[in-house]
Amino acid sequence: MSPLDQVVPTGAVRFHVEEEHEHSGGSTMLGFWIYLMSDCLIFAVLFACYGVLGRSYAAGPSGADLFDLPLVAVNTSMLLLSSITCGFAMLEMERNRRGATLAWLAVTALFGAAFVGLELYEFAHLIHEGAGPWRSAFLSSFFTLVGTHGLHVTVGIVWMVTMMVQVAQHGLIPDNKRRLMCLSLFWHFLDVIWIGVFTFVYLMGVLA
């Protein structure tokens, strides 16, 4: 009995395999989502670190002494506004309007840059007051957590500018649409992380 006799009855399986090749980019969104989930774990570890060390002031300043809530509120609104404009960019992308997509992406990147700028101002202010990451375990974990988030937003802005150049040069081709979908997921994900940051770090830091 040759092996061929056993293959023939299950020949229909081959059809499935060939069909799958047409959708080579089909798993990109799932793969990117799994990357976001692993990124989420990085932030979970940093949050746990802050949760453990956040009250170890080493006789230094506490969150209540340092945090400027109105500034944090402005910062939060910058990120929220950038989230909705990113959504508008995605809607325009679906309608295949290149100019409007580029415009909304530019607005999103500007809001993101405002967020990073305000955060850098806050960090510079803290360091100027002698409350740098070296001062206490609380400040080390604070700078690590908030700094990692800020770094993510910075990378997001770089990615956004890259995509604006790509869309301007090649238009809203399927490849660029897929990349923009990933970028918007990334951007909204960073906003979700920021909810945790302003709640657990800033608001609860001022409460304690």
Partner: protein, 133 residues
């Protein structure tokens, strides 16, 4: 691996080579605006609670802002990240649930263990801390 079954369900549905996550991956203007309004409200309330000293007990305030944060995260997941049980054949939801379980274990485990560790350490006064190298 939901691609084969999907291909059979909608042969040639995406002639431009779009991926099969498309159908559920996009939002609508109404969805984004609803999410934005909810997010603004859910952000404004915790800031107001803390900055206005609404509750006398800070424990109550802490519980309230944590609850609001959880609600806001769900709002962002649904309206901005378009999370649902259908997208990618349910695999994104499965990955999310797995991640949430890991996050809960990491956070609660770290806080629980380290709290007891701190609790059982010898007390160090602020004066001793200043004298430390």
């Amino acid at each position: 691996m939901s691609a084969p079954s999907h291909t059979h369900a909608h042969p040639g549905a995406h002639p431009h080579g779009d991926h099969h996550g498309d159908a559920s991956g996009h939002g609508t203007l109404k969805g984004y605006l609803t999410g934005f309004v909810l997010a603004v409200i859910l952000t404004a309330i915790p800031f107001w609670l803390v900055m206005g000293d609404i509750f006398a007990d800070s424990q109550t305030t802490a519980l309230a802002i944590m609850a609001l944060a959880v609600v806001q995260i769900v709002v962002h997941m649904v309206y901005f990240l378009h999370m649902n049980t259908k997208s990618e054949g349910g695999w994104t939801m499965l990955a999310l649930i797995f991640t949430v379980v890991l996050v809960v274990i990491t956070l609660s485990g770290s806080l629980w263990v380290m709290y007891h560790l701190n609790h059982n350490m010898m007390p160090v006064s602020a004066h001793d801390m200043r004298e430390m190298p």
